[in-house]
């Protein structure tokens, strides 16, 4: 069994490489030099695997300058695992046996590869990462940091769940401004006087094409503007995987998930506290007999009251959305609503919830998911707003209704589709996710190299671009592989 590796994302590549079955071309440096597989801080006493032909590296390891430099090289990168002593029983000279160096966050492998041919690594100036957000097309191809003030909000919405693995490589998460990002920004900037009924979009593409990241970028744009109210629904799997309480509501004639609705409204309240504080209700609401919220109360207070109990959240969820719509209709108001729905695919197939006859419930049988589809179809809308949805490849499921609605497949008489979902989604405007251009690949590669996450030179971005086909996730995996 191979020892645990630093990058789990690349473990497959490395294992395939060690077994000699890598589908990627080997770099000549790796072929010609001994390397070791790193281990984490486990105290396992197994020997290290050695591979390939080698030439002695004694001089480089015992070189004090090399030792001094090795710590500096990794100063910007993530803390790596500590190197360990090798148990050498092969042809290597015992005196010069490789000793693990405890650099601050370095490893022997990286030091060897970087310092081959007695070349000193020139520290490149860090690529200009924009601290201030630029929404214009001129910023295309540039990397920008997510402001710390927005990280908390995105975390509350659950937008960073899927990206935790790739963001863990960096101290601050950084995003690339792509062409599709410019498209989204243009849509949002034009939506100042456009109803959400005519601003319904779905991001569709292959696995790892960057749909969730693009939604994240749209949310960052909205949070950066004070007049936006963001309704974010990420992690839609929790709405269909039978992991939260549900019951049938006779008054609504549909199934409700009180806890999830309360959670959604709570996240909206926490994330849009300032914007909701400036909006007021147009009518009064009686929460419980004897207690009512008068007209003119701010929406933040309304949300605070209705999220105190899950039953109230269910009863007044649609009222809140209607009040939000009413707020956007007011003549002096400049409020915009951005409704983001990630993983629409999982909302288009039968859920794991069961009815009393032990049959799987359909998504439209649920009260809240039905409301979502009404907004997606345009039957419900915000006077000033935009709706962005995104398909997802996780979990891997067949979505015949959505495929036919988005034009990816033809209507097959032998494959039944859900008519309600088809009718709701057929009028969505599809934004296809394009692969990275070569310039975008170069930008990402530069950032990865300067962050010491990628071991290769920037010039190999073309090779990685070809190997990955421009797919962002594959490109990242290709760049961060250790072999």
């Amino acid at each position: 069994m191979l020892p645990k590796l630093r990058s789990t994302a690349n473990s497959l590549n490395i294992r395939a490489g060690l077994l000699g079955r890598s589908k990627f071309t080997w770099k000549y440096r790796v072929r010609n030099y001994t390397y070791k597989v790193e281990r984490t801080n486990s105290n396992c006493s197994r020997g290290i695997h050695r591979f390939s032909t080698f030439s002695p590296l004694n001089n480089k390891i015992n070189n004090p300058q090399h030792q001094r430099n090795s710590g500096n090289l990794r100063s910007n990168g993530k803390k790596g695992s500590q190197s360990i002593e090798s148990k050498d029983s092969d042809n290597m000279n015992k005196k010069s046996s490789l000793r693990g160096q405890e650099s601050s966050n370095g490893s022997i492998v990286l030091d060897e590869l970087i310092n081959q041919d007695n070349q000193q690594v020139k520290e490149k100036p860090s690529q200009a990462i924009h601290k201030t957000l630029d929404w214009s097309p001129k910023a295309e191809g540039k990397m920008y940091e997510i402001p710390n003030s927005l990280l908390g909000k995105l975390e509350t919405l659950g937008a960073l769940e899927k990206q935790k693995k790739s963001f863990s490589f960096f101290s601050n998460p950084v995003l690339l401004h792509r062409k599709v990002t410019t498209k989204l920004y243009n849509i949002l900037q034009r939506s100042k006087n456009v109803s959400s009924a005519s601003g319904r979009y779905v991001l569709d593409g292959s696995a790892g094409s960057g749909r969730s990241i693009s939604l994240l970028q749209a949310e960052i744009f909205a949070f950066s503007h004070p007049n936006y109210v963001v309704l974010g629904l990420h992690n839609c799997e929790r709405w269909v995987d039978s992991s939260s309480p549900y019951s049938y509501d006779a008054s609504l004639q549909s199934w409700v998930q009180p806890e999830l609705i309360k959670e959604f409204l709570t996240s909206v309240m926490n994330v849009n506290s300032k914007a909701l504080g400036t909006l007021t209700t147009s009518k009064s609401y009686e929460l419980v007999p004897g207690k009512s919220i008068p007209a003119g109360t701010d929406l933040h207070t309304l949300l605070r009251k209705i999220t105190s109990k899950s039953e109230l959240s269910v009863r007044f969820c649609q009222s809140f959305l209607q009040e939000l719509d009413a707020a956007t209709k007011q003549p002096n108001s400049s409020v915009n609503v951005l409704f983001v729905i990630d993983n629409l695919s999982v909302l288009s197939v039968p859920t794991k919830y069961k009815n009393t006859e032990n049959h799987n419930l359909l998504p439209c049988d649920f009260y809240f998911i039905n409301i979502l589809y009404q907004y997606l179809s345009g039957s419900l809308s915000f006077h000033r707003g935009t709706i962005f949805a995104a398909t997802s490849s996780q979990p891997r499921i067949q979505t015949p209704s959505l495929d036919v609605a988005l034009g990816k497949a033809k209507l097959d008489p032998y494959i039944p589709i859900n008519k309600a979902i088809y009718d709701s989604t057929k009028s969505l405007q599809v934004i296809p996710m394009e692969p990275y251009s070569v310039d975008e690949s170069l930008s990402v590669m530069e950032h990865l190299v300067t962050s010491n996450v990628c071991l290769e030179s920037v010039e190999s971005h073309r090779q990685n671009h070809v190997l990955s086909g421009g797919n962002p996730r594959l490109f990242f995996d290709t760049c961060t592989r250790l072999t």
Binding site: D241, S244, P245, Y246, S247, T356, E357, N358
Partner: protein, 148 residues
């Protein structure tokens, strides 16, 4: 530990799997019960509200499980024996009922088939079988009474 109809159920188990602890409830029946009562898959026994527990107890009390089911099974076997049918005689003899080989194997049937069918048990009474012990005990007591 929660007791439903006298059967102890661990708190940490999901209800769907905790119901398997009842004699007469398998996976399909447990799923049906959870669907009828609108219990989601990850609902644990300790998270059941009072109304949910009451509903579950009511539903289970209307089903034939545990002792009722065992008595029903034993009554069926006794009926077969009383009408002297082939199946009844095989039960009484402790031999396979459904046409299996007896030249070899048939170990399970020989262990379990009785007029009052026993389950897998390591108790001494279980090994002897009530249908052998009880008549003998009764006859001994009668003799003692007669002597007195």
């Amino acid at each position: 530990m929660v007791y439903i109809l006298g059967v102890p159920i661990k708190d940490e188990r999901p209800v769907k799997y905790a119901l398997l602890g009842f004699y007469g409830i398998g996976r399909a029946v447990a799923e049906n019960i959870c669907a009828k009562l609108s219990f989601h898959d990850t609902l644990k026994v300790k998270d059941l509200s009072d109304s949910q527990q009451t509903g579950l107890s009511q539903l289970l009390s209307n089903m034939t499980i545990e002792g009722d089911l065992k008595r029903q099974r034993d009554a069926n076997i006794s009926r077969y024996y009383n009408i002297r049918s082939y199946r009844g005689l095989r039960h009484a003899a402790g031999l396979p009922v459904n046409g299996q080989n007896t030249r070899t194997n048939a170990k399970t049937s020989k262990k379990l088939n009785r007029l009052q069918r026993r389950s897998y048990s390591t108790s001494s009474i279980g090994t002897l079988g009530w249908n052998r012990v009880l008549p003998t005990a009764v006859s001994i007591l009668q003799k003692i009474k007669h002597i007195r």
